[in-house]
Symmetry: D2
Subunit: 164 residues, 4 copies
């Protein structure tokens, strides 16, 4: 099972701590992590996952596998720039958003537009009227985010299996 973790390439200490914990707990549950493969939240989540012996996938905007952070096991070179954000979220059965700037905003939009559940942790707040609260959930801790993301991923996997 693969879950996406998204967030800004620049992260303060609080976000780094949260993202590292998210990565650690996902890996402890046997979940592979897909992210954008670069710095900030992306480095932190991959580092956490590797500390728990997990597997990490980085969907890179450019052509160079060495542009990935050092904790990425599988660098995917897309060469399509920030359109790669679409691939990050589609590759996860669910998405955890930790902090985040404009790139994260685009990823949340792409995920929700594709009916992929997004679990937020210190990330964007939206005008609630437009939002499906089943699809976008705000959490307060890494453990809560990981639990909800795994639940959502299991549910979506079962749905996919049943359609197939």
């Amino acid at each position: 099972m693969i879950i996406a973790v998204i967030g800004s390439s620049e992260a303060n200490q609080e976000l780094v701590k949260l993202a590292t914990k998210v990565g650690y707990e996902l890996a402890q549950n046997g979940v592979m992590i897909v992210c954008g493969g670069l710095g900030g939240v992306m480095t932190a989540v991959c580092k956490g996952a590797k500390q728990a012996g997990g597997v990490t996938i980085g969907i890179l905007p450019g052509n160079d596998p060495l542009s990935a952070n050092e904790f990425v096991d599988i660098p995917i070179c897309t060469g399509i720039g920030y359109a790669r954000n679409v691939i990050v979220v589609k590759t996860g059965l669910s998405v955890i958003a930790v902090g985040g700037a404009y790139g994260t905003l685009s990823e949340i939009g792409h995920a929700l537009g594709d009916n992929i559940p997004v679990i937020g942790l210190r990330t964007w707040n939206f005008d609630q009227e437009n939002l499906d609260n089943e699809l976008f959930t705000v959490t307060q801790s890494p453990s809560e985010a990981v639990n909800l993301a795994i639940q959502a991923a299991v549910k979506r996997d079962k749905l996919n299996q049943s359609i197939k």
Copy 2:
């Protein structure tokens, strides 16, 4: 000069009226319109532009030029699905968002991430802390949105010219 207009493929009468007026006024100012080429706000803005003799470009998710709405002059068939949202906003010198669902949210994220000014009209509201208020402006009428979008586009065009 090309300006992007984004918004939901399903639009109520109020949004249709606003988007049609936006298209009309952009075309009156000699501005070409790029949009996603499909229904709702996209059809309305193209219809408005054609009523004022403008030129309309539709960046389609699929392969079939006939999937474009009837007011699109130039259908671009991308075949890359909703990753085409990136191309819609990059092709505009500025962006006007009228209403909008999750696809529009992804487009606002991509635009802001690329430093492309976004002018909002009955669209998403965000947690202001994360937002650059010079880059994302909320307006109350089609005329105000069109004026600000043209000002922003002229400014960005001058910047591009000076870099070149």
Copy 3:
């Protein structure tokens, strides 16, 4: 009606002459041209089209409309690098290949894979066994290429209309 013209960004005088003639004759027949928007064959075909009062569309790999050659009327900024080659061929109802290097090879592959007819003029030769000769036709002159491309485009347009 839009027809794609593909070919190398570096072109010798013979190819420039051929591509200019292709652009001129397409525009004389009221056909809009889509190409990659950059140099060599792309500049030549746009120049020819403008001499006959045509309309030219450039699908750019990057973000800057000013990177288009001076004969492009409508610059589409994709930001997806050479993956934009897919969009160039999909946007045409048929494709003319004038000369060409590796990028052109990828475009011929994408076009044929999508059942889009390709008309070649001094371009790649292939092992005939793998090729559908109805889909890939070799011609000897710009006029022959333009005539065949328009015939193929008309046929495909009728097919699209009938499916719709």
Copy 4:
């Protein structure tokens, strides 16, 4: 180290045998395989790799991880259709082409255009004049193809490291 294997989604018994052997030998050498994740040559190469305990990555055109063949460990859902061909070749340090139809042709073009070495096995033949024979090599057996692909990948990896 990741090497890409490309080839048609429909393959006769000879190609299946060749591709399975390619996958087996790459995995024996500790190389991860990236491919398009679907049928024919793609299934065969993944099956061979798994028989030798390797790791397989499938870059899918669509949104559904269950569309991958059963031997794919890591399904990447791109949602960008056949533009995903670009990502398949960019993710490999070198490319092996086994048989192949039009999609493979596009992938060879994208690889060569990016200076990624391609090793051919029963694949397209080209007009030699346009081709760099250092970049595109024809081989006669899976072992020869695998050896050359690994040599080329090691060389390219060293180059990337030195640039970094």
